[in-house]
């Protein structure tokens, strides 16, 4: 059996190879003329622009702004989705009555409510947060809803026959069942929140990567635009790694994370 270390090293190597292949195809497309290199600069120019950005304090301030909006949006969406999802999930009457409302509101693309957000909050972070929270909330809410409702009937009957109180029921029955769903919701929500943060900044002009992207675009700095796209992608990667690490830690007791013990 291969050790975890060599397996992890191999998967990291394969991942790096995949990224390298993508970069080579990108460079080739410019060199071979599949796309016009003026408007879609090759990675050499884009990473040169990224290097220039890294030396600029304003660039880091911009990333900080995006991350702050992302964090606040995710927190607000997460907490409210957790509370509302638990309440609605545990009360069957509420679940029935809110189902059609949820299905109606959920598919509304949050960028469509940008005019409303600007009307309420102007051109600042608050308007972006409306967009971020709206989309992320539904991601996490649905997961919490299903998680809370997915209690094992045998376990539920056991709890009832043991006469456990509401609080114990919650702690020993609902929470362990719901936690994997909640963590999935948070992982999906984290990605969605970042996408919507950058989108909202792009369209509203709130401070952050999206706004800087528009400014570079208006200045005709195509290499800078794609450097910022790469920045957003790297941010998403870091966030994903972070959330996965948290998920592994929180769910370390769950059978999906623990390896099978061969006796």
């Amino acid at each position: 059996m291969k050790s975890t270390k060599s397996r992890r090293a191999r998967s990291a190597l394969l991942g790096a190879a995949g990224v390298l292949t993508l970069l080579l195809v990108w460079q080739a497309s410019s060199e071979l003329g599949w796309v016009n290199g003026t408007y879609f600069p090759p990675p050499t120019e884009v990473f040169a622009a990224l290097g220039r950005f890294v030396l600029d304090l304003n660039y880091w301030r911009t990333i900080g702004n995006t991350l702050l909006t992302w964090a606040i949006g995710l927190a607000i969406a997460g907490v409210s989705a957790l509370v509302l999802g638990t309440v609605v999930g545990l009360v069957p009457v509420l679940r029935r009555y809110t189902r059609s409302t949820v299905e109606f509101l959920r598919p509304i693309p949050s960028v469509a409510i940008i005019p409303l957000a600007i009307l309420l909050f102007g051109l600042d972070r608050d308007a972006s947060l409306v967009i971020v929270v709206y989309a992320t909330f539904w991601q996490i809410f649905i997961q919490v809803l299903y998680g809370v409702a997915d209690v094992d009937p045998v376990a539920r009957d056991t709890q009832r026959s043991f006469g456990l109180g509401t609080l114990s029921r919650f702690r020993y029955l609902v929470l362990p069942t719901a936690l994997p769903y909640i963590m999935t919701g948070v992982r999906l929500g984290a990605t969605v929140a970042l996408i919507l943060t950058v989108t909202a900044e792009l369209l509203i002009g709130a401070p952050g990567i999206g706004q800087l992207l528009t400014v570079r675009s208006t200045a005709g700095d195509y290499a800078g635009v794609y450097a910022l796209v790469v920045t957003a992608a790297l941010l998403a990667l870091v966030i994903n790694l972070l959330v996965r690490a948290v998920e592994r830690r929180v769910l370390s007791w769950h059978q999906s994370v623990r390896a099978e013990v061969v006796l």
């Binding site: 016009n36 702050l68 964090a71 600007i118 309420l120 102007g122 675009s217 200045a219 966030i239 972070l242």
Partner: protein, 324 residues
Amino acid sequence: MKRRAFLGGLAALATTVALVGCTDSGASPDPTDAGPAETYQVRVAALPIAETGAIWAALDAGIFADHGIELEILPAQGGAQAIPALVAGDIDFAIGQPMGPFRAALGGEEVRILSNYANSLPSGDDVNSVVASAASGITSWADLSGKTVAVNSLGAAGDLTIRAAVEKDGGDPASIEFVAVAFPDVPAQIEAGTIDAAWAPDPFRGMVVAAGGTDLGGPYQQAVPGLTVLTNFTLQKVIDEQPDMVEAWTAALSDALDYAAGHEDEVRAAIATNLDIPEAAAAGIVLPEFTADLSNAGLEDLVKLAMKFKYFETEPDLDAIVVQ
């Protein structure tokens, strides 16, 4: 243990970078010593384009501070965002093209144009022009009939004056298909052939011409020579609630525009710094005529043209919209 340290490190890094974002973005320069007793915090929305160079240069020169104004410039993405932001009370003033306030006024919002900001140039190279690809074979305004022409936003002064220019040259404006393409996307779209011609400012029209395209000239010069490009507007509510601030802002902006008109080098330097473009590129941009004076702005002609081509259902009341 290693993984925990890695996790902790990542979290610490993320928190640090997020906290950096809390800091003020680009603090304004220290106000000069000799200033009036009253200071006003003014938030104005202006597009991150070369024309805003006048405000940037005047800000650096301390002109707004002299009037007691602490200015914060918000980079709006367009007039469409500026007016909801005004209504929300998030900004005090906006610099934008005049069709936006007209539409808002017709929609019931009490938008008021306080002053002019920049006029286009009545002769010679204009601030923007219609450029066409070499492949399209367009060499005159009449040739635009039946072609696909891009403007940055539909229903504004761009497509309106292009229609007027085509009609003046004997073409059929009704046959033109106007599409919305953002200025930075124009050169790529012209080359790809998805559009035949486009209305664009520097540096994008230069890129099209450099790639072999034709420059037809400025549509404003054909329709309303010297037409205003940008005006300074706000809501009646702001004028009613903060008359002193509005007066200070109007006076400050007027001085700022006079300064910009007389100090072109400073304006170009400010553009190069704020848009982060090379100085050579900033030197090549055609600057508009910076002025706060609305008498040559051509607003009446613009409204007449808009009614002729049925852009509005009812005529905007300039006497009400423009603050005398």
